[in-house]
C-alpha cells in the first residue's frame, strides 16, 4: 500500500469525525482547526464513529485514572487526532507522544503553530507534548532515534494504524514500545472478520481504493486478537466489537443519539459495527 494512500486514510477518518460532530453526536472544539469541510456521512457511519471515539476515550480515561501520578500515551498513526490538546492542560503528569509520517506531522505542526490556543497548550505543557515524524516501519532504524521517556505507565494507541501494516511490522512496533516501557497498556481499534460475506465485500471495496489490511488477515476475529495480546504477556485483554460497544452505551446516551438522525437500516449498522473491534490490554 502506498504511503500516499495510507496517509489519506486520515482525511477519511477526520472527515467522519467532522460529519459526526456536525450532527451533534459529540463535541470537539479543536477538530475544525484540522478539517473544515467533509461530505456528510451516513447515519450508520456517524453512529460508528461516535462509538469509536467514545470507546477509545474510555480506555484512555481508564488508563489515566489508574496512573494519575505519572503516565505517558503514545499514539501510533495519530493523524489529525485532537485528543492530546484536550488532555494535556488538565492532566499535568501526562506525557503525550504522537507519531505519524513526516508529511502528516508537518501538516499537524503547521495547524498548531497557526493557532494561538493550540500553541499555548503545547508551550504550557512544558515539553510534555511530542510530535514525531517517521515511518513506523523504521522504528528500529537509528536515523529515527527519537527520545521516549517511558519509564512510567504507558498507553499505546493504534486507532486504525497498525492494521495497514504487515503482522511482522505491527509486531516489531508493539515490541519496540513494550521493551521501552516496562508497564505498557494497549488500545487497538481495527477491522475484524474480513472473511465472511460482509467482510469479503468490505475488503474488495478497500482493495478498490488501494487499501489492504494484512494485519487483519492475521488476526481475523476477537478471539485471535485476545491471543495476540496475551502473547505479549498482558494480564487482562478486553476485546469487544464496536456493535457490542454500541449496545452497551447507557440508555440515555443511546436514546439521545437515536434522536439525532433517522437510521434507515439497523441490520446494516449491526453488520458494519460488528466488523470493527476495540481491544484494550493491560
Amino acid at each position: 500500500m502506498s504511503k500516499h494512500l495510507i496517509r489519506q486514510t486520515d482525511d477519511d477518518a477526520a472527515g467522519s469525525r467532522l460529519s459526526c460532530l456536525k450532527k451533534k453526536y459529540y463535541e470537539d472544539k479543536f477538530l475544525n482547526l484540522f478539517i473544515q469541510r467533509a461530505r456528510p456521512r451516513l447515519p450508520l457511519i456517524n453512529i460508528g464513529t461516535y462509538c469509536r471515539i467514545k470507546a477509545v476515550n474510555e480506555c484512555i480515561q481508564d488508563f489515566i485514572s489508574k496512573n494519575r501520578e505519572a503516565c505517558a500515551i503514545v499514539s501510533l498513526g495519530a493523524g489529525s487526532d485532537t485528543t492530546p490538546f484536550h488532555l494535556l492542560p488538565t492532566h499535568v503528569n501526562l506525557d503525550y507522544y504522537e507519531i505519524d509520517f513526516e508529511e502528516s506531522v508537518a501538516a499537524k505542526q503547521k495547524v498548531i503553530d497557526s493557532n494561538e490556543e493550540l500553541t499555548r497548550i503545547v508551550s504550557e505543557s512544558n515539553g510534555r507534548y511530542h510530535l514525531y515524524g517517521m515511518d513506523l516501519r523504521k522504528i528500529n532504524d537509528e536515523r529515527y532515534n527519537y527520545h521516549y521517556d517511558l519509564n512510567k505507565p504507558t498507553l499505546l494507541i493504534s486507532e486504525c494504524c497498525l492494521c495497514y501494516l504487515k503482522p511482522q511490522e505491527a509486531d516489531e512496533i508493539l515490541q519496540f514500545f513494550i521493551n521501552k516501557a516496562p508497564k505498557t497498556s494497549v488500545v487497538v481499534y481495527e477491522p475484524l472478520y474480513l472473511d465472511d460475506s460482509f467482510g469479503r465485500v468490505m475488503s474488495e471495496n478497500f482493495a478498490m481504493r488501494g487499501i489492504s489490511m494484512p494485519t487483519v488477515e492475521a488476526y481475523p476475529d476477537l478471539v485471535s486478537q485476545v491471543k495476540r495480546f496475551e502473547h505479549y504477556g498482558f494480564n487482562k485483554v478486553i476485546a469487544k466489537s464496536l456493535f457490542t460497544y454500541y449496545n452497551e452505551l447507557d440508555k440515555d446516551d443511546k436514546e439521545r443519539i437515536s434522536r439525532l438522525e433517522f437510521l434507515d437500516e439497523l441490520e446494516e449498522m449491526i453488520l458494519l459495527l460488528s466488523h470493527y473491534g476495540i481491544i484494550y490490554a493491560y
Partner: protein
Amino acid sequence: MDSVIERLHQGEHIPERVVAQICSLAEELLVEESNIQLIPTPVTVCGDIHGQLHDLFTLFETGGACPDERYLFLGDFVDRGFFSVETFLLLLSLKVRYPDRVYLIRGNHESRQISASYGFYDECLRKYGNASVWRMCCEVFDHLSLGALIGGPGGVFCVHGGLSPEIRTMDEIRKIDRKQEVPHEGPMCDLLWSDPEDGYAFDSVDWSLSSRGAGFIFGEAPVKEFHQRNNTTLIARAHQLVVQGYHEMFDGQLVTVWSAPNYCYRCGNDAAVLTIDDDMNREYKVFEASDHTKMHATGQGRAPLPQYFL
C-alpha cells in the same frame, strides 16, 4: 409506456417531460386505491429494492416476467442504490401499463425528508440538473397506499415496516388520510418504520421505542392479536436487511422479505421474494447480486464506494 419500459431496460435516460407524464398517469391510478389494497393470489411479494435496478431485473428473472406474474412491492424503491430514478420509473411504468399485475405500497424512504438525505434527491440533481423530477416523484409517494391484503379473509397482511400500538384493525388503517408526507410519529409513521423482534413476548414487553428514531419494536403478542382481530394469518413486511433474503418469525406468523442483494454494494447478503399461491402456500425464491452490482461493489462503476471507518 412499452417504449419507456424498454428504454429503462436498456439503461437509457428518460427525459423530464416523460417523467412528468408517467407520474401524472400513476397518480391518477394510485389516488383511487384504498389504503389497504386487496390483491388476489397468486402474487409475488418483494421487499426493499433501494435503487438497485440491475438486481430488480434479476428479481423479475427469479420470480417470472411481469406481467406474466403478479407482483407486490413493499416500498423502499429509492435511496442508497445508484439507480433510484430508473428503478422507481420502471415500477411506476409497469404499474401504469399493467395496473392489476403490479401493486406498490409506500416505504419509509418514499418521503421527502428521507429521500433528501439518503441519495434519491442527489441522484435526481445529478441526472436532471434540477430537483423537479425529485419533486414530482415525491408527489407520487404521497399517493402510494400503506398496505395490502392478499387473498381476503385468512390472508396475508402486507406492510413496509410493521404494526403500530395505535392500530388494532385494518379498518383503522383504511381511515388514515395518507396523502401527505410521512409524519414523524403516529400510526402512518409506525406502519412504515416499525420492526418486529424476537424475545419480547417472554419479557411481557410488547412495544418499545426503536433506535431508528421512528416507529416501534414489537413482539409476538401484538402480532397474534392483530391476526385474531383481523382474521389474517401472516404479516409480510420488508424494511430490515436479512442476510439470507427472508426470515420468518413468531412461528411463521410474520415474515421479513428483503429484495436488495449485496445491499448498498456493501452487505454481501442474498435477496428473496415470496410467492403466495392460491392455497396460500409460501414459496421463497432466493437470488444473488447481479454482476452489475458486483461491478459497483468492486468500484468499476462511476459511483462512489461505500463508506467505512478508516
